[in-house]
Symmetry: none
Subunit: 203 residues, 2 copies
């Protein structure tokens, strides 16, 4: 097996065994049976290794990319992409168990370093996905080019809010409220460009 593959394989195993596994250079290199330097040759930074791994995992469990479907308007496409994030959550029953996993993995335990980095890896991958959508739409001129991080964070927060609301007890029509909120979020993103980030408030 190729060295690069051995490394990714070893890292994947470690994550499979424990979501919060540390994935340090030395640990992964040892498990893969390669040297530190060799790992660095294939993955110039630890970040690069983690990104490659996460990308592979996510590619595996959700293909298809409605963002480039030119038969739909940009706002419809972005809407569909956001829906595609919420869809696998299912409705109440499934959403409840899904949030159970999230709660026990990342909220209940103390946010120790391994827990934290495990969660941040997921978060980064989610950001990467949303960023991809916005970049594609920006290429088409549907929204101004530049730094989208502000809008990415905004959309992810809305998605977090909607997904937790799926798990909470609902009134009759979640679907309508959800659609309206998604519409509002998409409207906002498509009607505003990237903006310079605000400076920190001073204590």
């Amino acid at each position: 097996m190729e060295t690069r593959e051995k490394i990714l394989q070893a890292a994947a195993e470690m994550i499979a065994e424990d979501v919060a596994a540390k994935l340090s250079v030395r640990a992964v290199a040892a498990r893969a049976g390669v040297s530190i330097g060799s790992l660095r040759f294939h993955f110039p930074t630890q970040r690069a290794l983690q990104d490659s791994l996460l990308k592979r995992i996510y590619e595996h469990l959700l293909p298809g990319d409605p963002i480039r479907d030119r038969t739909l308007s940009p706002r419809e496409r972005l809407l569909n992409c956001l829906r595609q994030v919420l869809a696998p959550l299912g409705t109440n029953e499934d959403a409840r168990t899904a949030w159970g996993t999230v709660y026990r993995s990342f909220i209940e335990p103390e946010p120790t370093e391994p827990v934290r980095t495990a969660y941040l890896a997921h978060e980064r991958e989610a950001e990467r996905r949303v960023e991809h959508w916005l970049t594609v739409l920006a290429e088409e001129g549907a929204l101004p080019p530049g730094d989208h991080t502000r809008n990415v964070r905004f959309l992810l927060t809305v998605l977090n809010g909607l997904s937790v609301e799926r798990a909470l007890p609902t009134r009759e029509s979640v679907l309508i409220a959800e659609t309206e909120t998604l519409n509002a979020a998409v409207d906002h993103v498509l009607s505003t460009g990237p903006a310079p980030s605000a400076g920190p408030p001073r204590p």
Copy 2:
């Protein structure tokens, strides 16, 4: 000045100078002119130091009941109101236990009728609060009068997203990301109608 105070002051300065400053034990201790051990005595972990700092910053920028304070622009007032919802959640530790309660009360158990009505009571109270703010602002002409339920739902979803993100493991810059997202949400709500009031430019 007290040692604890010197440390917080030094950390605050470093963040003010550079949002992405590292805040390592040695860097903060050196800047504060205290020893590593002393810093550790007052802040048992680096995490504890960062949380104390964040808490202080939030306390500083939270005034009293803000919706009718005519000295501020409508958008600043709405922003402050939303912050006032998030503030009592506290950072990670408190937010985690708070979400623990929510999870065990309303997500983990089957959504039987008593569970459901108990949750909906909370939800209705939250809606009532947000609706009040929007009504006051509508009276001033800052946004069109009429039915605000769409905007209320939108804002509550954003608040849900932000509050769950407080309970999840965080990056360093929660405060900035949160502020930007709140800004985006408020922008959206206030731009859904005419009557743009001339307030000071936003940061």
